[in-house]
């Protein structure tokens, strides 16, 4: 599985109320190219901090799912945050690590993740759902299975490919502004675990209304 395809697969599972934090380098650039949205906070600098930002969002916005997408080099810089996340234990946090065992954004130099089982680190840190996947189908399945089981950690093994065709993220203040505005506009005061469940509840409500109106008539 290539990085671009992995991010495409992730994007297909992003609900309309999910917030996404993407990390430094090609991951943010690919996400911008695949599905730019006010739901995305592209963190282009401060390598390693995507997971910390995701945690801050998740604990303050517990009515929506927060999806963190980062690389192996990135999580290796801030592994302490895995403990912070597991300790805070936000049910609505999904932490995705795309692991190509390389610093692909800076020329493909090897990281140390080949000899470190990051999924075991996540499990030992205290994540409630942990899965390691190697194909798009497995990734798709684990994105579904992790629903409502956060803090969840998915380690997706991907190929090193070095492709850098996606555009650079440039308008940082604007990205922040629209992300904040989107969060504000879509903050739902009614508790629901995620958008899918909310959708399901809405559908049920419609069915119930239909049923009651039929009964009344």
């Amino acid at each position: 599985m290539r990085r671009y395809k992995a991010i495409e697969t992730i994007c297909q599972s992003i609900g309309k109320n999910d917030a996404v934090v993407s990390s430094t380098g090609l991951i943010s650039r690919d996400l911008l190219a695949i599905k730019d949205s006010p739901q995305n906070f592209y963190m282009v600098g401060s390598m390693g901090l995507a997971s910390s930002i995701g945690l801050g969002l998740a604990v303050c916005q517990n009515n929506r799912r927060v999806v963190i997408i980062e690389g192996d080099g990135s999580i290796l810089m801030n592994m302490g945050s895995m403990s912070t996340i597991a300790h805070s234990c936000p049910r609505n946090l999904l932490h995705l690590v795309l692991d190509n065992e390389a610093y692909d954004s800076s020329g493909g130099q090897p990281t140390t993740s080949k000899t470190t089982r990051l999924e075991e680190v996540a499990r030992a840190a205290g994540y409630r759902f942990v899965r390691k996947v190697g194909s798009r189908n497995e990734l798709r399945q684990s994105l579904t299975d992790s629903t409502n089981k956060g803090p969840a950690f998915i380690l997706a093994k991907i190929e090193k490919d070095g492709s850098r065709n996606s555009p650079r993220v440039l308008e940082l203040v604007e990205i922040k502004r629209r992300f904040q505005e989107w969060l504000k506009d879509t903050t739902d005061t009614k508790p629901h675990r995620n958008s899918q469940r909310a959708e399901a509840q809405k559908r049920l409500a419609v069915i119930r209304n239909d049923a009651s109106s039929k009964h009344l008539s």
Binding site: S46, M47, I53, H87, I175
Partner: protein, 180 residues
């Protein structure tokens, strides 16, 4: 007699620090602060003890200072007004978070940073960063001021106003002895 006298003196000193921490936290709340994260410093012991007990300002323990900044940024994006607590040794860990996250995205975060390494410091590991602290903040373009027990309310209020007006992080430095 002597030991009894000493005991009561220590107790009154501790009471004083608890009251000082209370004044600080009350002022934070008055200025809208509603979340805290950081890495502990002995000088801030009473403040952290106070925050941990305060349901209105949840305290998220971070693994390192940059982690705390990330948590603060997430909380800010979600509409909160966080404060980040650390020692200046930790501030040195955070230069890139200031340079490539807080400043270019114009994210206002409030900081309480213990200024170790001031004249009178006995711990040699703090000497260099003690000398460099204000210079680093100046070079980065981060406004700062020194908070003391006499100016708690004005320093917090001025800092939060500056954050709102200029969308920049603002640092409040405290010297040893302010809250300990």
């Amino acid at each position: 007699m002597t030991s009894g006298f000493k005991g009561s003196k220590e107790k009154s000193s501790e009471q004083k620090m608890i009251m000082a921490a209370d004044t600080f936290c009350t002022s934070l709340k008055r200025n809208g602060v509603n979340l805290a994260s950081g890495v502990p410093c002995a000088v801030q012991k009473y403040i952290i003890d106070r925050l941990v007990k305060d349901a209105e300002i949840p305290y998220v323990q971070a693994a390192r200072e940059e982690d705390a900044i990330g948590i603060g940024v997430g909380a800010y994006l979600a509409g909160k007004k966080p404060i980040i607590l650390m020692q200046n040794s930790g501030l040195a860990n955070c230069m890139n978070a200031f340079a490539s996250l807080l400043l270019p995205y114009r994210i206002p975060l409030l900081f309480l940073v213990t200024w170790r390494g001031c004249p009178g410091e006995d711990a040699p590991q703090h000497f260099v960063m003690g000398r460099a602290t204000t210079g680093l903040l100046e070079v980065l373009g981060v406004p700062f001021s020194v908070l003391s027990m006499e100016n708690v309310e004005t320093t917090i209020s001025n800092s939060t106003h500056l954050m709102q007006e200029q969308h920049v992080p603002v640092v409040m430095l405290i010297r040893r002895g302010t809250f300990e």
